[in-house]
């Protein structure tokens, strides 16, 4: 990861100083940012400091990387969780209904919807939504971010469209998983036994089907959440949403190694934490795993 970041060609010091600079100021900045040391030393220095929570200073703005990330974090978290909420609101009912009535009209419509959501380019959908709701109808602002604490109304207005776009995409993927896992759970022996011993449909469904279908759902939701927390760069650009994806993109463009390393480290951590949470949820849902 560290190596890849440093493979990016272009001299960050040169970019930071602009076009006119003296050799002295060039050397001074190079020394100050530690870029004159061998790569291996740079790595261990960075790693040691990262362990103590010091991710270095941005080449571009001179702010600390931690403060830059902290500044972007609320927007990213807001969008990611709002999108997952939208996704689950779409996926769970749609997937369940289509699994309960396979090959019916409902199932076909649900399949078409999820196929649409998987295939639509998210940034294009964002642009079309902006055209309709911000342009023609004028109901919503076309982009930007307002913290919840400042103005809840404006916060919600600006959150709606990006959350809908990313939510529809993630929701479509999750729908397919919900459908197939509910279908599988419906066909299991214990469900037939439960029906045979005369339990009501509702009871069979909540206790025997849904609970078994929950495991794959938790996994996909975790994967989708990790994806939303790291990779919605394009949607962030379309809606001028000041999230981590934008920060990472700018860091790549400016060869801002400390910021890029910090962002990637954070994404890796997010990935690990989400996997851990998914595993914990597993044992909470399925007592068989605890043993």
């Amino acid at each position: 990861m560290f190596g890849l970041v440093h493979l990016v060609p272009g001299d960050p010091v040169r970019l930071a100083l602009g076009t006119r600079f003296s050799q002295e100021s060039y050397d001074a900045l190079r020394e100050r940012s530690g870029l004159d040391q061998p790569l291996v030393e740079q790595f261990f220095g960075w790693f040691g400091r990262a362990l103590t929570g010091d991710l270095g200073v941005s080449f571009r703005s001179g702010e600390t990387v931690t403060s830059q990330i902290a500044e972007r974090l609320p927007a990213t978290l807001t969008l990611a969780f709002a999108s997952i909420l939208v996704a689950l609101l779409i996926a769970v009912p749609l997937g369940t209904v289509s699994a309960l009535r396979p090959r019916s009209l409902v199932d076909r419509v649900a399949t078409v919807i999820s196929q649409f959501g998987i295939s639509v380019p998210d940034f294009w959908m964002g642009i079309v939504l902006i055209l309709v709701f911000a342009g023609t109808l004028g109901w919503l602002p076309s982009g930007g971010y307002v913290p919840l604490t400042e103005d809840p109304g404006a916060w919600l207005q600006r959150l709606l469209m990006p959350a809908l776009v990313t939510g529809v995409v993630s929701g479509s993927v999750i729908t397919r998983f919900v459908r197939s896992s509910v279908l599988e759970a419906l066909g299991a022996d214990h469900v037939r036994t439960a029906q045979a011993k005369g339990l009501g449909t509702r009871q069979v469904f909540t206790w025997h089907v849904l609970r078994n279908a929950l495991l794959p759902l938790v996994t996909v939701t975790g994967v989708q959440l990790a994806y939303l927390l790291s990779g919605v760069v394009v949607v962030e650009i379309v809606f001028s949403w000041p999230g981590l994806g934008q920060l990472a993109l700018q860091a790549v463009q400016a060869r801002d190694y400390p910021v890029l390393q910090g962002a990637i480290l954070l994404f890796a951590l997010v990935f690990l934490v989400i996997n851990l949470v998914v595993d914990l949820l597993y044992s909470a849902i399925d007592p068989r795993i605890r043993r």
């Binding site: 060609p9 196929q115 295939s119 380019p121 642009i127 055209l131 394009v234 463009q253």
Partner: protein, 345 residues
């Protein structure tokens, strides 16, 4: 029993292994036995490619998707014939014309015909898509074959490396590769190819593990067939169906990713038309002239949708067991990961 040297076939060959589907993955090199010896009464376990095609034809969505894709490919290949000369020609008098008979998709801010640019964009998008998936297919399949067949340390080393690549957020990995190599169509294809290589490796490995201990593999090993022969003649053809399905779905992802990267200004560079680039250019005019961004987006959507539908159809025909495992098209990266983590947890 003595073994004849290549190229002659071994004296006894498992009929099962020989009458396998002639999938595109199967290496050429017809065996003379194919004609000389009538097939045994054993039914082939999986349909051959004609049967695959006829089954696909009976699946209306997949059939329609294939026809539309074929049309798109034809238009992309003969783009010079279909696109009028206005594609890269700047004309001030014709700027921002709404859709009309003369310009069915309208014109952009420089007076260029959008339909022609969409057609030229098709060849760019498809070329990048096929190159990217071709790279991922060859490299990923090879890695997966070796990891699955040899197991143990080879498996550990190769798959840990693949996991490392896989742990990167896909878009960021592609952006990082493009930052290293600089923007452009070829590098975009490489970036997307690298992103998708681990998925092919995983799919192939899983599939190889499934057939590695089959009787026909053990039989040919016992008659002394080389590892290479076993891999190419017995394992690859039988492990192919999930790989073929993955190829179609990956093409959907690749077209989408090319559009996204070009949209960010990292992929195809102007003045070459690429769907993603046209979307980015049209975005600024969205309230003034909706058609600038609408039609390229429609083109991306249609192409991606068709590849996904074809992938679904192929999966139903070739590999019904996989249906529950690999849902999700363009975002199959996440989906495949889910299937994996589901297995590991």
């Amino acid at each position: 029993m003595s073994i004849q040297p290549t190229p002659g076939p071994p004296p006894y060959q498992e009929p099962d292994g020989e009458r396998r589907p002639e999938t595109p993955e199967e290496p050429p090199g017809g065996s003379p036995q194919r004609e000389s010896r009538p097939p045994p009464t054993l039914r082939p376990a999986r349909p051959r490619w004609q049967e695959t095609l006829s089954l696909l034809a009976h699946n209306p969505t997949a059939a329609i998707a294939s026809v539309v894709l074929l049309l798109i490919v034809v238009v992309a290949v003969f783009d010079d014939t279909f696109a009028s000369e206005g594609a890269n020609e700047i004309s001030v008098t014709d700027r921002l014309q709404p859709p009309s008979w003369e310009h069915p998709f309208g014109t952009d801010d420089l007076g260029r015909d959008i339909l022609s640019r969409v057609i030229l964009g098709a060849s760019v998008s498809l070329r990048v898509g096929f190159l990217a998936v071709g790279f991922a297919l060859v490299v990923g399949t090879l890695i997966g074959l070796l990891a699955g067949y040899y197991g143990k340390r080879v498996d550990d080393v190769l798959m840990r490396f693949m996991d490392m690549l896989f742990a990167f957020p896909a878009v960021l990995l592609a952006i990082a590769v493009l930052a290293v190599r600089g923007p452009g169509s070829g590098n975009t294809a490489l970036a997307i190819g690298i992103v998708y290589t681990p998925i092919f490796a995983r799919v192939t490995r899983a599939s190889v593990l499934g057939v590695r201990e089959e009787v026909y593999v053990r039989a040919s090993r016992s008659v002394g067939a080389s590892d290479w022969r076993i891999l190419t003649r017995h394992i690859l053809p039988n492990a192919a169906p999930p790989i073929i399905v993955q190829t179609s779905i990956s093409l959907a992802f690749a077209v989408l990713a090319e559009a996204a990267l070009s949209f960010l200004g990292l992929g195809t560079q102007p003045p070459n038309p690429s769907w993603g680039l046209m979307l980015a250019e049209g975005r600024g005019f969205i309230e003034l002239a909706w058609w600038l961004a609408f039609f390229p987006g429609m083109a991306i959507f249609l192409t991606v949708l068709c590849f996904n539908l074809l992938g679904d159809g192929l999966r139903d025909v070739l590999d019904p067991r996989q249906r529950t495992q690999m849902a999700g098209g363009s975002r199959a990266a996440g989906a495949a990961a889910a299937a994996e983590t589901g297995g590991n947890a």
